[in-house]
Amino acid sequence: MARALTVPIARASPNITLIVWGGLTLLGTLLLSWARIGRDLFAFVPGSIGLQLLRESPVMSGITAVAALVVLTGALQRPESQRGRIALWLGAAGCALSVFYLVSSGQPFGPAAIVAALGFLAIMGTGLALSGTLRTDAFLATSILWVGAFVLAFILFPLWAVLKASVVVKGQLSLAAVTSVLKSPAFFLLNNPASSRNEAAIAAALGLVTAAVVGIVWLAHRRGWRALRAAAVAGVGIWVLAALYLGFGALRNSVLLAIVVGVVATALGFVFALLSERSNLRTRSLLGPLSILPIITPPFVLGLALIYMFGRRGFVTNGLLGLSTGIFFGPLGVAIAQILAYAPIAYLVLQGVVQAMDAAMEEAAETLGASRWHILRTVIWPLARPGIANAFLLVAIESLADFGNPIIVGGGVPFLATEVFFAIIGRFNPSEAAVYGVVLLAMTLSIFLVQRYWIGRRFYVTVTGKPSGAQHRPLPPALDYAASGVFLAWVVLIVALYGSVFIGSITKLWGFDYALTLQHIKALSPTGWQVFWTTARLSAYAAIPSTILGFLIGYLVTRVEFPGKSALEFGSMLSFAVPGTVMGIGYILAFNQGALLLTGTSLILVLAFVFRNMPVGIRSGIAAILQIDRSLEEASTMLRANSPTTLRRIVMPLARAALLSGLVFAFVRAMTAVSQVIFLITPAHNLATTQILSYVEYGSLGRGAALASLLTLFMIAVILALYAVNRRFDTRTVGKTLMT
């Protein structure tokens, strides 16, 4: 080997990293299957290992040659920077050849493809570090490439597939699907031909009148051109609201629902926040546990409970009042279920705002002697506004994306999230589903962007700018009692609803025969139990990689400088803003055929969980890492530790509590996920949440309640176990990590 060198360089010794990665890649390529038959990822497929393919496929020979060259590069005596550049090019060539091979073979990928992809990326990463292109070491450079590849493949690519499906119909670029959906009355209809009035004209007239009134009032205050702007904003706002109110269709229902739920849940959350920060009454101690409950159970459990309490044979409506009403099936029921489920989110966001407000109010009131009204208008409202907007927008995203409640208590009224589902499952029309998905995505994404980059920033500044340990001024008693009353009503409702699910699971036939029975719980076996354990198993599988990935991304984002960092951060947080149903169709559209075929495997469920819940890991990771003094890592580096050692010996032990919570939260979210997996399940891999939905759909409410109770109790047990292990635990942090 030394003969290849003209001038041997004394100090360059063989590079172990390159030799190991090159060797692993070579072995994996030669000895593992490149293709896969059916669903089992690890089945050995005769005839598809690299050794056998070498003769027929020149590309395969290229791939193995590249891997062998990497080993050689690692062994040769060369200066590191030169070796790095060679490794970089070899790695890139290997990636390109592997992708080319997979695409041209068209068979579902096997384990060899995974090894090759990860291996060649690692070789590229090592090359980037050795050549000095990236000022990090091989481990971090490889992590960056891997994480980037994952985000591309499992977040951006599925979204791209949805976009593509909405404008490509039968292989042709066409706007047919888009126009047909946008024009369909199921999507949005303003001027109902069946009604005698002209809704469009009414909405327009209302808008014009509002604009005129606002303009005149503002002009009277001599506001000049700002009057014009105010008039335009008010006019358009009223016009849109009127059109939504008067119109029909999924768009109208979803948006109106989001607005109503957003406003009411935010108001409730504000009241709760006031109580938690400034109440003198004991009731506030209930806030913690009860606000966690709706967050750790699937939101549709409340929908289910609503049927029990207020449905046709509901305990309250029928049992107590003797009514038989379907009024709670439809938008009203969905709105109530969502308000109950999402008020805690608003509470968690606003709690910080109320804290900050308190100090400001005191200062202003006591030093300036201004009137209360003046303080409210000039100090409190501007301070609280970003937080309130933040809470509203977060709740609106959740409401728009929610799938379970509309399908359980929606009573057949169309909503965007459910139309996506019905377009695929009922009408077998992926293009239509994609168009609905794109509309939904556009709305949640723009809300997400506004929330994150506009309000999120200001909100953050306000909250961190508060002086800590400010004196909390108690609420005036009248207000305290009123607010506590509202809260107690919410508590009673929540307890009654969850209670009805628990009781429903041991009641013979709710609404007809309230005799106690274990028949529903017994009926869970075998299917129900099996599904429950499958869910727990897959969720556990998913929790580990999503925690590790999330933590790694958190570390890269906070501690490492590299080009494309903000893109990586944005891409990985994106899946928080993507409604589950959209992610779901993204996955079936993207991984449905060819080399990337994954549908029908349990792997696709795990992947869906991992990338859906990764932001939870990122958030808890970032929070933990920011609390570790950076000089600890630097001290470790100066004592000759490389970055994996520093991560393992210093960062991970110090962030252990956060890692553990991240793990548990990822697990909880996977267990309770519905919308992103509803398209991905198969009879072999059914999940608890979807099983509950199908029990309800087929009228076995009792069994649905039994499974839902089991799920709820299990989640409570898991959170309590976490509580027992992590001493420094706060229900607020749990909620914040989970939701916001």
Partner: protein, 376 residues
């Protein structure tokens, strides 16, 4: 503590033999368009303790971190001994650092903290135990191995941090304001201990501080920095006696800076002319640097006339703030029999040659790296 340290000297191998110099050549570090360190060239002689001194934000820490490898220069080269380490990562540089915050690993005991680097170097466990015990004795903390950092006092934490850095037998030892978290008394003691250890082990050391008293007491050589550039390099006495610029004069020690003129062995300050000769300065307008202890306060006779504005009793000295036609100046004098002069007293001021230095107007911003580059 000193006695014990001397006894265990043999547990540290003679570092003196392997001491190496550190060289910075035109090193620049930019953050965006802002140059935190601007074209710095300097040599840290083998086995010496060199202080980087300057006001807050002048780029001391950045320079130190570039030597450590925690920050990468935008331009220029860094040499440790005869090895160009510019592109080497921090973990391969044979340099260790004592951090301002000590950066002791809170989840590891003192023993584990000190052993951390040795474990990474994969030394046998018995050898690690021997070396850790040796170095803990060296810094005077033989008893605390089992404790966690949170169970130590600030001064003890500081010494553990030093032990953790020393045990690696680094070629270069870096300190970033290691004493700033200690109270004034303790600071003086630890400062003396650091100096003593460094001289005994003969490790090339670079020490960042913004406290000029600390720099004067500790250093073989002081590098004064300002706005990312080197203002002057020299031994503490040189910098004090012969500052190259107003900035250095003002920054190191107390300084009275008066405007005056110099002609043929005569200095004129206000109405007062006195004999003083300095070869390095041309005739014409000059800035006269007079250290407070070089200003003699008399109640009569010849001298610069002035009037006492305020008078302080400082313990060992009296300190006066005096208004003169050439400007305000400070004078200190040992307590004499006559006691503290009262405010408003008319006085005459004489200047003592040893505390006097002239800066010609052209030496305001010198390119003054020359003086100590010839150091070994």
């Amino acid at each position: 503590m000193k006695e014990r340290a001397v006894e265990t000297r043999s547990s540290m191998p003679e570092a003196r033999l392997s001491a190496v110099p550190v060289r910075l050549e035109n090193v620049t570090k930019r953050f965006g368009s802002f140059a935190a360190v601007d074209n710095v060239t300097l040599v840290i002689p083998a086995g010496k303790l060199v202080t980087l001194l300057g006001p807050s934000g002048c780029g001391k820490t950045t320079t130190l971190r570039m030597i450590a490898g925690l920050e990468h220069p935008t331009g220029g080269r860094i040499w440790i001994g005869d090895e160009d380490v510019t592109a080497l990562p921090a973990s391969n540089r044979s340099v260790t650092m004592v951090f301002q915050s000590y950066a002791l690993f809170p989840h590891l005991t003192v023993h584990e903290n000190v052993a951390y680097g040795l474990r990474i170097a994969k030394l046998p466990e018995t050898e690690i135990a021997r070396q850790v015990a040796g170095v803990l004795e060296l810094v005077g903390l033989p008893q605390v191995g089992r404790r966690y950092p949170a169970q130590l006092s600030g001064g003890q934490q500081q010494r553990v941090a030093l032990a953790r850095a020393l045990v690696m037998k680094p070629k270069v030892l870096l300190f970033d304001e290691p004493l700033s978290n200690l109270d004034a008394k303790l600071r003086k003691r630890v400062r003396a201990e650091i100096r003593e250890l460094q001289q005994r082990l003969g490790i090339t050391s670079i020490y960042v501080t913004h406290d000029q008293a600390e720099a004067l007491a500790l250093s073989d050589v002081i590098v004064v920095m300002n706005l990312g550039r080197v203002e002057q390099i020299g031994a503490p006495t040189d910098l004090y006696r012969k500052p190259a610029s107003r900035f250095v004069a003002d920054f190191i020690g107390e300084a009275n800076l008066l405007t005056g003129t110099y002609r043929e062995g005569q200095v004129t300050v206000g109405p007062f002319t006195f004999p003083f000769r300095q070869e390095s300065v041309a005739a014409g307008p000059v800035t006269v640097l007079a250290r407070p202890e070089a200003v003699t306060v008399q109640t009569d006779g010849a001298g610069l006339p002035g009037k006492i504005r305020t008078a302080f009793f400082m313990g060992m000295t009296n300190e006066y703030l005096i208004e003169t036609p050439a400007g305000e100046l400070t004078a200190t004098e040992p307590i004499r029999a006559r006691g503290l002069l009262s405010m408003g007293t008319e006085v005459r001021l004489q200047f003592d040659d040893t505390g006097l230095y002239l800066l010609s107007e052209s030496t305001e911003s010198p390119a003054s790296t020359g003086s100590s580059e010839s150091a070994p």
